[in-house]
Structures are given as structure tokens and as C-alpha cells.
Subunit: 333 residues, 3 copies
């Protein structure tokens, strides 16, 4: 294989991921010319400001550059083989990926689920098709997982806690007016279990468990790396002794595409908000979130503005971890 | 204070502004590496082509780079503290400003009024909230004032006239089919009075006077810097002996948000167009405008294409004055 | 004349075009600083991902930079002189072109026909107005011709075939669900005839002949450069002995603006698809297309995935030919 992709941390070993995290710590706040002359294409099928800025700066700070392509609504691609292309797609991903590969050195893609059929969305077909046909590395800027956010989270936890193994990590569902993508929740589960943390997934009902692919991976990582995976629907039990509380809202998969039916359950669990009372149960725990974050819906101002809130550090760490990923994939070492 | 913003020229002394203008003259047409490795975020809540291009080039010509963020419709931010964020805003400016500050060295913002309630719009809350929470300098790319346009105007006047003190500057309202932002009019008033010009504000009726904040500031600057402020509703009187005629259309503040009621007054004053007959009354006066400019609505072709028309020079000067602002704020001196 | 434009290959001699093609071959895959400090404005009145990326990279790979301006819907410009601008256009191209010329070193424009009146569209007024008023070179990124695509095509043919003179070039209309721009068809006709190829234009009926401007130019180029121009409505005849088959769909000009009337003719000619049976009639011919390309509508998978298919090479050659055009226009030699 002449190139490697960064589609999911599941494809990378713990040691390799730690290598990226160590590289991020070294690259943080520094400028070099390691990617001089390199170009990244950043393809956004969904809007972004934070990811876009941090990826663009990650190239610039290493002497490279980025081309931002807003593909939402303008670039419907066919991804199945053998199709008679008489629909809306004007181009096949075979052509798109191969041509872009001749212009740039890495292709980064954001493509959220379409939110109609999870059995389709869970295959993550667009980015996988790009990875198959591109002749340069492909990087995931959030699809049904968000591996760069995972690295930023873990970089932050290692900065604050040092060794994270056996530390208690609580991934808590929180209320949000709309059903959201499970990507960051899937990712939080993957990275915390892969680094041997004692992971608790706190959610309102069993219907809010994540896709079995990620539940099973987390169980396996727990065994392999010496941590554990616990499911809880009781906030008091879950928060008890937590070292880290990570908040995220997501739509329950059994209700995928028929969100009105989920609404009553969602509405009944607004008390899952992260507040001072719950945080008092923790082991002086850190609080984080991937942003954007609705204040006083997902977390109270008191917690968000406390010294233990590390979401700004996590967001800031997006830049160095992405620098490390790009440097590693583009061979700039 | 570890950093300074450029939100309004009202916050900068005449001597400081002259320093920016002198710096602009030196930077004009030259390329250097004074901002090497520096990144600007350009956030547009309203579309722009001229401002966007000139800011991006202002960074590039000093060895830096710019990330353009189209925020219109995609990034509604909460700016009030303590709010339960159950509306359309997914993110609070506290997070947005702090996170962006970790990625870039300066944040530049365009955010026009919402045109519904001037008592709200006149507080200029979005850019002021960014300035409060950002840990890097914030630059105004036009909100309810347009300070970069002011500098470009004054740079042009000094190029053409030398010392501008006591020169007669006429800011004339002109017809436009739609009610427009008062930002450039407010700004023209501020900068001309701050440099001691004899300023005449020409408008159809007293209802077209600008917000008292800017009227009062202009009166005070007139006293402080040896100029004067005159209000006129009579074109012949106003143009008489003018050294500079600066045209702009704006909506009358008493009709803010109920523009249909203003329309008859507006429609009755189409003769405020800048034409050769009026310009013949001036002291061989210069004509300028901030662009875009509807020909034969705001100004006749004959005036626009005359040697005394300097709006292209003013637009061109956007680049060097913005280079000077960015260089000064980013400590590249 | 202090600057030269690249609006159509019709304005450039064969020798000059060959110079651009030779320069492209030298620049391909290399990075230099020949355009250090130069800035291009890329103005898109129609969306683009391939052209946008390849132009941006063409500047970056020569040490310059590009500013991308999405003008679709946001920048309606007046192009006629003397107009009372009381319509939708806020700005005249006189101002737009002159101001941009002070910020950047070259202005590149994509502006497709409006598809309502070919007598208007065929005048290509917007880019011609920019060329008239700009004080820097203007480059065509596709209007009613697509000269950069022409160069990429010819670069690819010379790479594969060496001398192309007297080689048989078949430009075949193919079915597409929508009536498309004739730009690439016009361009294929111009460049193939200008390099002395034996050109066959294959289309369903005489109504699909291209504008007389391009038909006449091709006839004249055929005489001047030793090639020929043949019109055919019979695929078997046209494909016979072809060295190159170039596919493109376009709307028939007599039906311009009343496309529903064209639909039955279009629908009746879906068999114009490029398939293995037709390609078997050729002289082991190459197949190409400008992309995007609907598979199994315009060309079968079997042909598209055959070794004789060169559309990826043609797309890849967009980058070096554009580098050559920009370098030549900006005097970076």
C-alpha cells in the first residue's frame, strides 16, 4: 500500500494513536515547513467553521496549503458501480477521487449521515468510496465517527490527567432540541476504551445505546487494554467517582428517520443536563464537550465556566492533532 | 491589555490614525514578510467581494494568510449571558471567540444591522461580544461603522489634497431604491470631523440625520480638531465651495423597520444625485463613494468618469490601510 | 498593450498555443517560485470544484495564491454603458474590474450562458466587459468556450499520439438528460482544427451543429493548418478509423430557451452513447471527455475503464496547462 487513510481510529493501533498524540504535543504552537508545497482538499458536504479553520491552519502552520470545497448541494456523486447515471449525480466518485488525487496530496472529507436510514448511513459509503479510488490519503473530518475529535479529546485528557488507564470516563447523553449525529458519541466510546479507561455510557434508555459496531468494539478494547465498559441509565450511579464527564446528545437509532416518535422520550430527559449537583458526585472530574454546545441545555453555565471545564482546550487541540495526522500521512516526518 | 481591537476609529486618537495612514503609504504596492506565519479569520455574516479580497491580499502581501468563513445563515451565535439556549443559536460567542483565538492571530468580522430595530442594532452587539471574549485582536469589516473605509477615504484625500484641515467636506445623501446601512455615512462623519475638516451633512430632511452618537462625536471632534459641522437640506448651499463631495445613501432612522413609510420621502429626493451642475458649484471638488455605486442613480456618468472622481483610488487604498491596521495590531512593526 | 488576455484560443496562434503546451509539459509535477507574490482572483458565477481546485493549485505550485470569489447570485454586474442602474445590479463592471485590478494580478472568470437567448449569450458580454475594463490579464474559466480544457485535451493527445496532424478526431454529441452548454464542444472544434486534425463532428441532426462562428473558424483552421472538417449524423461512418473519440452533450441552438421542444429529439438519440461496439470501428482510438461524465449514459463502463480512456489524464493536465497560461500572462518566465 503506497498510502494510508485516517478514516477511523479503529484502523489504527493504540501505539500508533499514541504516536500521533505525542507528535501533536511536539507540534503544538510551533510552525515549520514540514509540509512545504503540499496541498489538502477539504471537502465539506456539511457546513463547518471550526473544523475548516483548524484544518486550513494545520496545513498553513506546516508550510502547506488547503483548498476548501463546499460540496453541499453542488456535488452529488454516484458511489455505486455499474449504475446508469440518469439521476441527480453528474459524476462518479471514481472520477472525482482520481482527478482530485492528481491536484492535491490529501483529501479530507466531511459527510454526515442523511438521517433517513441508519442501515444505509452506517456503511459510511461516500468516504469509503473516496478512500477506495483516491491515490492519495483520505482523512475523516466527521462522518459517522469523528476521529480527529477523538485525538483532541485524548490529547486533552493526557495533558490534564497524565496516564488515563483505569480512570473513570463517563459519556453522558444530554438533551438537545434536535436529534443529532452519533459520530462524536461513537468516537468517544472508541478512544476511551482503546486507552484502557473505565468507560460508563450513560443514556436515558436502552434505545439510546450506540450502534453495535461501536458497542462491540468498546467491549473488545476494554478487554484488550485493561479497561471496562458499563452501561447506565442512572445519572447518580454514573457520575459517582468519575474522572471525566463527556457530554453529547444524539438521536436514538431505533427511531432513525421517524424522529417525531422519539421526541417524547427526549423531552422527558432534559434533567440529564450536566450541572453542579451531578459534578459534585465525581472525583473532582473534568468536564468536556466537542462543541458547539448549547449552554443551560446540555451543561449549566456554572459547570461550563468552572476550572474543570476543558472543552476550550479540547477544541484548541484539534489543531495540533490534525497537524500530526497530516504530517504522518503525508510523510513529512 | 495584551491586545487591541480596531472596532471604530472613535477608539483611536487622531495621531494614531495618522500613524496608520502613514504606514499605509509606506506599505502601498510593496510586499514583505512582516506577518509571516500569521493567520486572520475573516468572518462574513453578510456577503462581500471587495472587502474579502482586499483583506485576504492584505495578509498575503505581508507573508500571512487568511481563512474566509461564510457565517451567513450557518453560524447563529448567542451573545447574551445566562441564556437557556433553546433557540436557533447552537453556540455561544464565548466559545466561538475563545476557540477561534487559539487557531488564528486576528479575527475580522462583517455583521450588518438586522434592519428591524435600530435600538438593538446600534449596540453592535456581535462584534463587541467577540471583542470581549476573543484573546486576539478583532477588526471591524463593517457593522454600523466601517472604519477601514474611513482610512481608505482619508488616505485618498491626503494623497490628493495634502493637509485636509479646514477643507470643505460634503457628505451627501443620495437616492437608492432600497434603504441602506448607515455605516459608511457614520464613518464619513467621524473621520472627516476627526481630521478637522469643515463638514457639511446634506440630507433631504432632518429625519435623515445620523444617530446622535455620531452627530455628537462629529460636533466634539469639530471643536477638538478645529473644524466645523453644518447640517443642510439644500444642495446648492451645501455644494458651494466644496473641496470634497462624498455620496452615500442610507435609510432614515425614524423609519427603521417600517421602510414602506419612508419610501415616499426617498422617492421624492432622486434629484439629490451627484451631477455636473452641482459639482460646478464646488471648488473644483473631488467626488468619491465607497462602492458599490449605482451609476446614474447616485451619480451621473459624467461625474463618475471625470478626472476629479477618486472612488477607484479610495477602493484601491483599502488594501494598504488594511495592511497597516493588521500590521499594527499583530505587532509586525 | 501592457497585458494580454486568455479569452479564447481563437485569439492565439497555433505557435503560441504550442508554446503554452510545451511550457505545460515542463511545469508538470514541479514546483517553483515563478509567480511568488502574485495573486489571482477566481470569480465563479457558476459552481466549480475541478476548475477551482486546479486554478488554485496552479497558483500555489508557482509560489502565488488565489482568492476565490463565489459571485453566483451575490454580484449581479451591469455591463452596458450609460444605463440608469435602477435594477438588480448594484455595481457596474467598470468599477468591479478596475478595483479588482488594483488588488490582484490576474482575474479568472467562469460565467456560463443564461440559457434564454443564444443571440445574447453568444456575445459573451460579461467576460468581454471585464477584459475591456480590467488593467490586468483576464482568463476564461469557461463561458461559451473553455480554452483551458482545450489545452488540457491537446496536451493529452500530444502525450499519447505525438504529432496530431491528420489524425482523425471525432467530436460526438451524446445524450444527457439536460440541455448543456456548448462551450466544450465549441472548444473541441477549435483546438482540433487548429492543430490540423481531420475533424468529424458527429451529431443527431443538423440542428445540433454548433454556432456558425465556431463552424466557420474550424473550416478556416482546417484550410490553414492542413486538416479537414466533416459533418456526420451516422455513428458508424464517423467512428470508422478514428484516432480519438471525444464525447460531449449539448443543447441544440435552434431550441435555445424552449428546451421542452428539443426533448423528443434528444430522447430519441440515446444510442449515441460511446460503447465498445462503436469503439471497435476506430483505429484503436483514444476516448476522452471533459468531466463530469455520466457513466452508462454518455459512455459505457467498459469504454470508460479501458486502457484507451484518457479523461483522467486530460483532467490532470488542467493543472499544468493553467500553470503555463498564468505564467505566460503574468510574465513569470
Amino acid at each position: 500500500m503506497t498510502h494510508r487513510h485516517f478514516l477511523s481510529t479503529a484502523d489504527w493501533s493504540q501505539a500508533e494513536l499514541q504516536g500521533l498524540l505525542d507528535s501533536a504535543a511536539q507540534l503544538r504552537g510551533k510552525r515549520d515547513e514540514g509540509l512545504a508545497g503540499k496541498k489538502a482538499a477539504l471537502i465539506f458536504y456539511n457546513p463547518s467553521l471550526r473544523t475548516r479553520t483548524s484544518f486550513q491552519v494545520a496545513m498553513l502552520e506546516q508550510g502547506g496549503d488547503a483548498i476548501v470545497l463546499d460540496a453541499a448541494g453542488t456535488w452529488p456523486l454516484e458511489i455505486e458501480d455499474g449504475v446508469v447515471m440518469d439521476g441527480t449525480a453528474e459524476e462518479h466518485v471514481r472520477e472525482a477521487a482520481r482527478v482530485l488525487s492528481t491536484y492535491v496530496d490529501v483529501i479530507c472529507i466531511r459527510a454526515f449521515p442523511k438521517f433517513q436510514d441508519w442501515q444505509v448511513d452506517r456503511q459510511d459509503m461516500l468516504i469509503r468510496a473516496f478512500a477506495e479510488h483516491a491515490t492519495v490519503p483520505v482523512v475523516n473530518m466527521e462522518t459517522i465517527v469523528h476521529p480527529c475529535q477523538e485525538l483532541a479529546l485524548m490529547r486533552t485528557l493526557q495533558d490534564r490527567l497524565g496516564e488515563v488507564k483505569k480512570k473513570k470516563f463517563v459519556l453522558t447523553w444530554t438533551y438537545h432540541p434536535k436529534p443529532l449525529n452519533t459520530a462524536v458519541a461513537n468516537s468517544a466510546l472508541l478512544i476511551s476504551s482503546k486507552f484502557g479507561m473505565d468507560v460508563t455510557l450513560l443514556c436515558p434508555t436502552p434505545e439510546y445505546l450506540l450502534d453495535e459496531r461501536y458497542m462491540t468494539a468498546a467491549e473488545n478494547f476494554a478487554k484488550e487494554y485493561g479497561g471496562s465498559l458499563t452501561i447506565s441509565h442512572d445519572p447518580e450511579e454514573a457520575y459517582d467517582g468519575a474522572d471525566v464527564v463527556y457530554a453529547k446528545s444524539w438521536g436514538a437509532l431505533p427511531y432513525f428517520g421517524r424522529w417525531e416518535d422519539e421526541k417524547p422520550i427526549r423531552d422527558a430527559h432534559q434533567h440529564f443536563i450536566v450541572d453542579e449537583k451531578k459534578m459534585a458526585l465525581t472525583n473532582n472530574g473534568l468536564f468536556s464537550h466537542c462543541l458547539p454546545m448549547r449552554r443551560n441545555i446540555k451543561v449549566t453555565d456554572a459547570v461550563a465556566d468552572s476550572p474543570n471545564a476543558v472543552f476550550i482546550e479540547e477544541a484548541a487541540n484539534r489543531l495540533p492533532v490534525q497537524k500530526a495526522v497530516l504530517k504522518t500521512l503525508l510523510g513529512g516526518e
